[in-house]
């Protein structure tokens, strides 16, 4: 499976301009699973993901992968809420992560074609990525993230602005990736999506970790009142 897991987080904290965005948090993510990060808007989900991915500086505490930091950086991928497209063709977007690791052009192109077929974008391989629809862009971003076969994949509310059909396509790809061994950590506030995909839930509220339970436990029998209210659909701060 993965040599990066388990991931141990101890007293980790991220601050910006004196304000605490997330933390201190303590938890351990095991080798297997599909982790959902849930919470209302502004609770710190994005900050948590970026913290785990290592792109923001820790104000305090540690985030420790099982392997060394250098290899850890190379084996992760991140899909942003608003997909970032390179100003290139669809094919070049897909091959970019491979090319920066010096994968020969022919092999990279073959992989790109394979993935394009999987996500249904074969027709537009040579067209500029800018002309794709929102759903297509996000599928492309996901394929671009998975093309390198990362061990860990982070996603920050990938389906937030997508329609039902695009959402379903993304979810199918995610489940396939998870089955293929990719450890997925995804933020979402779509309850249905969380139930469909998640094996465990990290519930974040006001920058603190309120609950960390297996999915069935969280949805059927949440431990905290805040979680209960959230699941109920109430507005909580």
């Amino acid at each position: 499976m993965t040599s990066m897991m388990p991931l141990v987080v101890e007293k980790a904290q991220v601050r910006r301009r004196g304000k605490v965005l997330i933390g201190p948090v303590n938890f351990t993510l095991r080798t297997l699973g599909f982790t959902i990060v849930m919470g209302p808007n502004g609770s710190g989900k994005t900050s948590l993901l970026r913290m785990l991915h290592g792109v923001v500086r820790l104000a305090d505490g540690t985030v420790s992968w099982a392997c060394d930091e250098i290899s850890a950086r190379a084996k992760q991928a991140f899909v942003f809420q608003n997909p970032v497209m390179l100003r290139r063709s669809v094919c070049d977007n897909l091959t970019y992560p491979l090319r920066i690791q010096n994968v020969p052009r022919k092999i990279a192109n073959a992989e790109a074609e394979r993935w394009a077929a999987r996500i249904g974008l074969t027709q537009v391989l040579t067209r500029s990525a800018a002309v794709l629809s929102g759903g297509e862009k996000q599928k492309l971003a996901l394929a671009r993230a998975l093309i390198r076969k990362p061990e860990v994949l982070f996603l920050d509310e990938p389906c937030a602005s997508l329609d039902g059909r695009a959402t379903r396509e993304i979810e199918t790809l995610l489940l396939q990736a998870s089955a293929d061994g990719t450890r997925i950590i995804m933020a979402t506030h779509d309850m249905g999506q969380a139930r469909r995909l998640g094996s465990e839930v990290l519930f974040i509220l006001q920058g603190k970790l309120h609950e960390f339970s297996p999915a069935e436990v969280f949805f059927e029998n949440p431990k905290t009142d805040a979680a209960r209210a959230f699941l109920n659909g109430d507005i909580i701060e």
Binding site: H53, F80, V84, L86, Y96, I100, S128, A130
Partner: protein, 234 residues
């Protein structure tokens, strides 16, 4: 007003008859400016990209100085280069003074800040777009710079063309370091200065219109060759 009309007529006449002296100085103008532009771009474009992505202590100062240097008076640059290249100066042994090479050097110094500033600003905008993605993908500094340079190439072309415009019309520096020697370092702008000094406004304007016409042609050719403004491309 009749002077301007006379100038246009002279300019057209010079072009139509393909006056050999005109061709000689026009080609020399082009060669010197294109050389300067290539060298300056090789320095300024990566510099602009580096300043966009790398964070270091004095970055703001460096960017401010670079922007300010765009306003360097060319004749001052010319004087400094002259003093350095003069036989009595530190690099006199190279014997570069009053040759086209000296003119290229002076023009490079003049246009690097301009090209770098424009390149830096547009690459900075592009970097803010790509920042999260490229950091996430664990790219090296060099990979970030080359990705920005490639994806931002249209804006960089504009930066280079701005440098071309500045250089092709420059006269103060190249007059001092080139000496405006007939058949050696005389170019369009210095010839215009010379004819103006002789009071021959008609010919001076004529040469001026040739210069404008040439600059226009170069720009149109570049745009055509790189296929900008084609349907569906931004």
């Amino acid at each position: 007003m009749s002077d301007i009309l006379d100038g246009v007529m002279q300019g057209i006449w010079l072009l139509v008859t393909l006056d050999p002296e005109l061709i000689e100085i026009t080609l020399r103008s082009l060669r010197i400016t294109v050389s300067a532009l290539l060298i300056a771009s090789a320095i300024a474009l990566p510099l602009g990209a580096l300043l966009a992505v790398k964070r270091f202590r004095f970055r703001r100062v460096v960017i401010a100085v670079m922007n300010a240097l765009m306003g360097l008076p060319p004749v001052v640059v010319g004087l400094c280069v002259y003093i350095i290249l003069s036989r009595s100066g530190p690099l006199g042994v190279l014997g570069l003074l009053f040759t086209p090479s000296a003119m290229v050097i002076a023009q490079v110094i003049i246009i690097v800040p301009l090209v770098a500033s424009i390149a830096h600003q547009s690459l900075r905008d592009l970097w803010s777009e790509y920042h999260d993605l490229l950091i996430s993908m664990n790219t090296s500094q060099w990979q970030r710079i080359s990705t920005l340079l490639w994806d931002g190439r249209r804006a960089l072309l504009t930066a280079s063309l701005a440098g071309f415009g500045r250089a092709i019309g420059e006269v103060g520096a190249i007059m001092v370091v080139g000496g405006n020697i007939d058949h050696v370092t005389r170019v369009l702008t210095t010839a215009i200065a010379l004819e103006t000094g002789k009071g021959d406004f008609g010919l001076a304007l004529g040469l001026g219109f040739v210069l404008i016409f040439m600059a226009l042609s170069v720009n149109l050719a570049i745009h055509y060759l790189t296929r900008t403004e084609v349907e569906g491309r931004w």
